[in-house]
Symmetry: C2
Subunit: 333 residues, 2 copies
Amino acid sequence: MHSDGRKIRSLEVAERAQISRSTVSRVLSGDPRISEATRARVLAAADELGYQPNLIARGLKNQSTGIVGVVVTDLDNSYHAHALQLLIEKMGEKRLAPLVFAGNSVEGAESAIARLMSYQVDAVIALAAPFSQSIIAACRTGSKPLVLMNRHEGEESVSAVGGDGAAAGAMVADHLVARGARSFAFFGGDDSTKISMERQTGFADRLAAHSFSLGTVCTSRYSYDPARRAAVSVLSAAPDAVFCANDTLAMALADAARERDAGPPPMIVGYDNSALAARPLYDLTSVDQNLEEMTSRTVETALAMVFDSQAPTVRLTISPFLVERGSTRPRTS
Amino acid sequence: MHSDGRKIRSLEVAERAQISRSTVSRVLSGDPRISEATRARVLAAADELGYQPNLIARGLKNQSTGIVGVVVTDLDNSYHAHALQLLIEKMGEKRLAPLVFAGNSVEGAESAIARLMSYQVDAVIALAAPFSQSIIAACRTGSKPLVLMNRHEGEESVSAVGGDGAAAGAMVADHLVARGARSFAFFGGDDSTKISMERQTGFADRLAAHSFSLGTVCTSRYSYDPARRAAVSVLSAAPDAVFCANDTLAMALADAARERDAGPPPMIVGYDNSALAARPLYDLTSVDQNLEEMTSRTVETALAMVFDSQAPTVRLTISPFLVERGSTRPRTS
DNA sequence: TTGAAAGCGCTAACAG
DNA sequence: CTGTTAGCGCTTTCAA
């Protein structure tokens, strides 16, 4: 192992193996028409020198860098943080390198995208809520494959992997009815996208099928403090059960109910099955979006589009499942 | 704006501005010895064509990519997630591109580092607890500048930006004594690094200066469930106040105390001032590490080492501050 | 089965 | 003040 700072180039390997640079390249790319003897010599030489190909040079030559841009907002939201973590892991397995940008503002997002393009990313994965339109536009002009995760922007021209909010809403309705609830509320988020709305209508429709109707519908930003304030109006209607578009909303509601301390709290269902939901204090029934699966498919989709840039756009829907916990235990009031 | 997928190269700009490629390059790099007239022509042409320089090609030529590797573990920990978010933002401001790897296992970390090297990153920032040694070794052989954030591995040869755990411990001791506590416990983490220990000794030493001594010392992994179990032994000693190495530990302790419901809970101080600590339910006094500052300095350090690879290694210590909340309100028992 | 040569898009001597 | 030329490290025709 060379301890001097010098980087080993393919030329060094070639010399040591008494062979040309082209052959080194061919061996490393697994070209079949290379004699076993030389292949072994090259591999040995590369190994002894600790050769690591320069992926920047390769990228320039191949017009393909193996870098994928990832645009994300609001890593303070543990759901986003977890999604990013999984994406990064899956990309590593597929030998893709994630160049990550956290677009806080719109201008930030615009320039972030521009920089991604400058780095010749092979594709872009976006799990950023507010700026999808800019991203879509930028990827179109740059003709880079784009995969939206958990957003459906309506655009048919771009691939998207998302959850099935309507199905989740239906599952929740079934569950709550089975648990004996008779009056229902929905506590939604302020999505610019229609994610929250999809969950709500799925919920309302299935309730209707059970001959119940959705009562109070309340909306809040997704962060805790506003949600806590909005929670009081949800509670004032005293529903048997509340379906929340998000675990943060659900926890704010649970806390508000605990504080009010007026009679038994409603049954509460959250969304995302975050780590906090499982804590005994909340013990919150929650919809799990199956992020594991969702991120896998997202990365696979991106990879497919890298390999074949003519690959058709893909729309995948991942089935959520319900994790039942104490917050929807039948009341013995 | 060209809507055909074709990428604009500097040659196109040169032709449109009736000038050579070199001049285009010079204009874009702000070379002063260019006539105003041509500068304007070039800028106009570049703008009209929507030219974005190919940073991969530039990186190859310049032997400097503007890419910085970021190694992180456990994004499920909101502290890490927030740190990453801030790092990414600050790097963006400095026009650095973060290539992020989440090293889950040691092997993962090893190969992640190798890939970072292959991408010719200009520097590496690590906020990964367990694998610092591999990372240090890899960066040394690759002779890449490395900045450790919030780790002190003892190694003098590598730059590090960290918090002052001892000072924080002292502040907490002062605060708790002032609030009337007379018996004290420490609820620590299982750091392989000595971070938790530093906080503890800072705490114990200052207590001693006040003629108090640290009683129970208990240790747990940093995640909630183990902490919740360990919390009972902390509580069994019935201390007036407990300093926790982490907000997760502190919340587990608070929950355990709430559940026990035997007399008033101890005063509790956490560490990291996470978003959860501020929720009314916990209302947790906590040490704020000043991540804003810490991440800024980390990025600045990395940038300095990129500009001047002979820059001396740096060791910076960021002063924490205490955010006082209800969990240390004087008891009126 | 292998080597020679060209070129990815950019920048930086070195000339003029 | 600007153009010509060479070359970063790699891959890949094209020839042998």
